[in-house]
């Protein structure tokens, strides 16, 4: 063996990165299954697995898929909260499976896992993301400038840069939009994520497209639909103050100052 640590981990029984000194528990994952190739009806299915509670829900889903039922279907990629693939509804709350540790979910009771709401479920935990990305595209999520480009970079003060820092963190996971009761009832509503991404440009001092974006969001399906329930802020795995960003866009619409 070439590398000392790995010699040790080679003996460890657990298949995924875990903690040798922590006890395994038996946890029940109650997962909302849906596959129209098999049945038109969705149903709950329980899986009991032995797992380290310091592991992530994503680890549990992998354990089920890899060792018990290969048909269980979900999206995932980076596994540490930056790619935004694995937003799902866990114990009734929208979270990223890869950022949620099992120990934080009262694992003595069944842990429920289902697809995020408001977007069409295609199979198990996979939803149709196209309407979500369409709303994003509709707010013109790119820097709009006029006149000649400078030779070097555009100047921006550290304070101006800080003004929209929070909304640059968005990973487009849809946890916010699919936690919004207004969006559940009306899929035409742009939803919090699109507004967050409009905010990111409206409050960027380099951008000159603010008026256009504000007009788009002044629409009947725009920011005024927000009822400030704060579900989106609670759901955001990146800690973005989503409701505050929406309020700032509303205020900018009234004052036309941004």
């Amino acid at each position: 063996m070439a590398t000392p640590t790995l010699e040790k981990s080679g003996k460890a029984p657990e298949p995924e990165a875990g903690f040798a000194d922590s006890p395994y528990i038996t946890a029940t994952f109650r997962i909302r299954r849906f596959n129209p190739e098999v049945s038109e009806d969705a149903q709950w299915q329980d899986f009991q697995i032995s797992i380290d509670p310091k592991e992530r829900v994503l680890d549990a889903l992998h354990k089920i898929k890899w060792e018990v039922d290969g048909t269980l279907t979900f999206r995932r990629s980076c596994a540490h909260g930056i790619c935004g693939s694995d937003a799902m509804r866990i114990n009734g709350k929208n979270r990223l499976a890869c950022k949620t540790l099992i120990k934080d979910l009262s694992p003595e009771k069944p842990i429920t896992v289902e697809a995020i709401k408001g977007l069409t479920v295609l199979k198990d935990l996979v939803v149709d993301m196209d309407p979500f990305f369409q709303a994003y595209r509709d707010v013109m999520p790119f820097l709009i400038t006029k006149g000649n480009e400078p030779t070097r970079e555009r100047l921006q003060s550290a304070e101006d840069r800080e003004r929209f820092d929070d909304t640059t963190k968005c990973i487009l996971c849809a946890a916010c939009t699919s936690s919004c009761p207004v969006f559940w009832n009306d899929g035409q509503y742009f939803g919090p994520a699109a507004i967050v991404n409009a905010h990111r440009f409206i409050f960027d001092s380099r951008d000159e497209g603010g008026e256009q974006r504000l007009e788009i969001l002044n629409d009947r399906d725009g920011v005024w639909r927000c009822r400030t329930t704060f579900n989106c802020t609670d759901a955001c795995p990146r800690g973005i103050e989503v409701t505050k960003a929406i309020q700032e866009v509303k205020r900018a619409l009234i004052t036309r100052r941004f």
């Binding site: 990165a17 890899w66 279907t73 980076c78 540490h80 693939s85 950022k99 100047l155 921006q156 487009l172």
Partner: protein
């Protein structure tokens, strides 16, 4: 089966693919095929920054950057390519800023810069501030900015399309193989699509998932490299894999080198700043291969931390909390979420993590893929981690990969679109999708007793144990034998999901096949390289051997008449311009 026709097809929508798409969409009818939604790509996980000698905060120039890149790559870098990388870095960063990227700013409002491993002033005198950054989510901001600009340019994406085969056609007159198209599997429907294109760019990323402790996403399974390799194209320098010094202990999640750039220190169980012993000038900011070896040397000599002595600490506790919040918010959050540790007050347990493939599909500086040491495959391009230009040589410097994807993504996007403007379609072969159809049907109908997850885990544990930071003839041979065994057992793999709709069970099986092919190439290339250079460290040959091994490895898949497969190794000279190889000290 559907057949589509585009001027240019790009495979992959990470940084390199989208940077290429922005250029090629302006010039030709382009389709981007991507197995993930573009914003899920692993470019988004890069943290620390993108190197460019802007000299915004202190004296710097691209020639110093070129030298550092060549030295960092232990002189296996093609020097003409490194010079292009360092020169075009400046415009690449400015391009991104003009596209809207929110870089951190200096008090004067310019793009701020910070220190990073291996980047120095005046050829190694002292660390220099060269990394342009956006907090510790520079990759995220690059990925978002490029996607935003793809939206602006109206780039056409085929999301969740897995490219499984590359179609090449031999020109009957000249005997030259040209690219004709690619074959893709649509995740949503299970349908197979053939894309005929005049020019094709592979930008499908790395292959880190053949290791267990890795910073790489689950989806980084070397699909592009494997497709090219199976069609007889060579893979260059696959033995060179980078182990990033600071992955979260046992999980492998990346903690940016920017943490050390901001002043973070590596410590052993005695609290000693051990890098002072190994790299007196650059200390914690020596190149990654050097730091990773130093960490394992500490661990092997009994100075590792924890009950099992199997990790060391990344200490940020002496840095002001405001600095951590402003410059390193994501990685401090990772420590809190996954380890329950407060980085303001407690050091973070870390170990080296498999991070980046220096090798890949060989290209020239225009991004054109090579079929051997000199012959270009007309119409075929590659950029980013899937490619080997080679600007990274035997060890990539931190911040040079975000740079690579931008410089060579742009170059290949322009070159491919110009090629498709001047050339015609190459006829598709008969039954163009046959290989993919056979592969998919075989896996779907297999009743064998092997499981994908079992084989993958055995592969990952074997790779971690035998071809990681330290290697010997014996450990590499162990890996070669084990991989051969796993490849046999792979023929008996069966899957449980037999359906067409979102069959990720099937795709994981296909990805495992790719990983096994590439692991074999890697181990075989490593066995033959009887020297130590950059990321490839042989305990039985601890010195660099410029007489025998100052050359790139070129690995080819060969199939004998009876169907047996083997790997043929050949070598390609390194391009040297103005820098003579020297002993590498930090």
């Amino acid at each position: 089966m559907q057949i589509h026709k585009y001027d240019t097809v790009i495979v992959g929508a990470g940084g390199a693919g989208m940077r290429a798409a922005i250029e090629s969409t302006k010039r030709s009818r382009t389709a981007v095929l991507t197995k993930l939604y573009p914003t899920r790509s692993h470019t988004g996980a890069a943290q620390g920054g993108m190197a460019a000698a802007l000299a915004n905060v202190e004296e710097d120039n691209w020639e110093w950057h070129t030298f550092d890149t060549i030295k960092g790559g232990d002189y296996l870098v093609d020097q003409d390519a490194a010079e292009i990388l360092a020169k075009e870095a400046i415009d690449s960063v400015l391009d991104l800023e003009k596209m809207g990227l929110p870089f951190n700013r200096t008090p004067e409002g310019r793009i701020d810069q910070r220190r990073f491993g291996g980047h120095s002033r005046n050829h190694g005198e002292a660390p220099v501030r060269r990394s342009c950054y956006a907090s510790d989510r520079t990759g995220h901001m690059i990925l978002q900015t490029l996607y935003q600009n793809c939206v602006k340019e109206g780039v056409e994406f085929f999301n969740e399309f897995y490219v499984l085969d590359l179609l090449l056609q031999e020109d009957p007159e000249t005997g030259v193989r040209k690219s004709a198209g690619v074959v893709a599997y649509e995740l949503a429907t299970g349908e197979i699509h053939v894309f005929q294109a005049k020019a094709i760019i592979f930008a499908s990323g790395g292959t880190g998932k053949f290791f267990k402790v890795t910073s790489n996403a689950h989806t980084l399974t070397g699909d592009g490299q494997a497709a090219a390799y199976r069609r007889g194209l060579p893979l260059e320098d696959m033995e060179f894999f980078q182990f990033h010094p600071t992955g979260i202990w046992r999980m492998g999640i990346l903690l940016t080198e920017g943490a050390r750039g901001e002043g973070g220190i590596l410590r052993n169980k005695d609290g000693e700043r051990f890098m002072e012993k190994y790299a007196p000038v650059m200390k914690d900011l020596a190149s990654r291969d050097v730091v990773s070896r130093s960490i394992y040397t500490e661990i092997r000599e009994g100075r590792g931390c924890g009950p099992e002595g199997d990790h060391v600490y990344l200490d940020l506790t002496h840095l002001p909390p405001e600095q951590l919040d402003a410059k390193l918010p994501d990685i401090t959050e990772f420590a809190r979420t996954y380890l329950g540790i407060e980085p303001y007050t407690d050091p973070i347990p870390i170990q080296p993590t498999a991070h980046y493939a220096m090798g890949g599909i060989p290209t020239n500086v225009r991004g054109e893929v090579l079929a051997d040491n000199t012959t270009v495959v007309p119409g075929l391009y590659a950029a980013g981690e899937v490619a080997c230009v080679s600007v990274h040589g035997a060890n990539r410097l931190g911040t040079n990969s975000l740079l690579d994807i931008n410089v060579f993504g742009k170059r290949s996007g322009i070159a491919a679109a110009e090629y498709s403007a001047k050339n015609d379609y190459v006829d598709l072969p008969e039954n163009p999708a046959q290989l993919v159809v056979d592969q998919v049907e075989r896996l779907r109908n297999s009743t064998g007793g092997e499981r994908v997850a079992t084989l993958r885990l055995e592969l990952q544990e074997c790779m971690d144990a035998n071809v990681m930071v330290f290697r010997t003839e014996q450990t590499i041979k162990t890996a070669v034998d084990k991989i051969a065994e796993l490849r046999k057992r792979y023929l008996d793999v069966s899957i449980q999901d037999k359906g067409k709709r979102f069959n990720t069970d099937l795709l994981e099986a296909i990805e495992l096949g790719n990983l096994l092919d590439l692991a074999e190439v890697m181990a075989t290339s490593a066995l033959a390289r009887k020297e130590s250079r950059g990321g490839h460290y042989r305990e039985d040959y601890p010195n660099r051997d410029d007489v025998n091994f100052m050359r790139h490895t070129m690995a080819y898949r060969e199939v004998a008449d009876d169907g047996t497969e083997s790997i043929r190794l050949d070598y390609k000279p390194v391009v040297q311009t103005r820098y003579q190889p020297m002993e590498r000290k930090y």
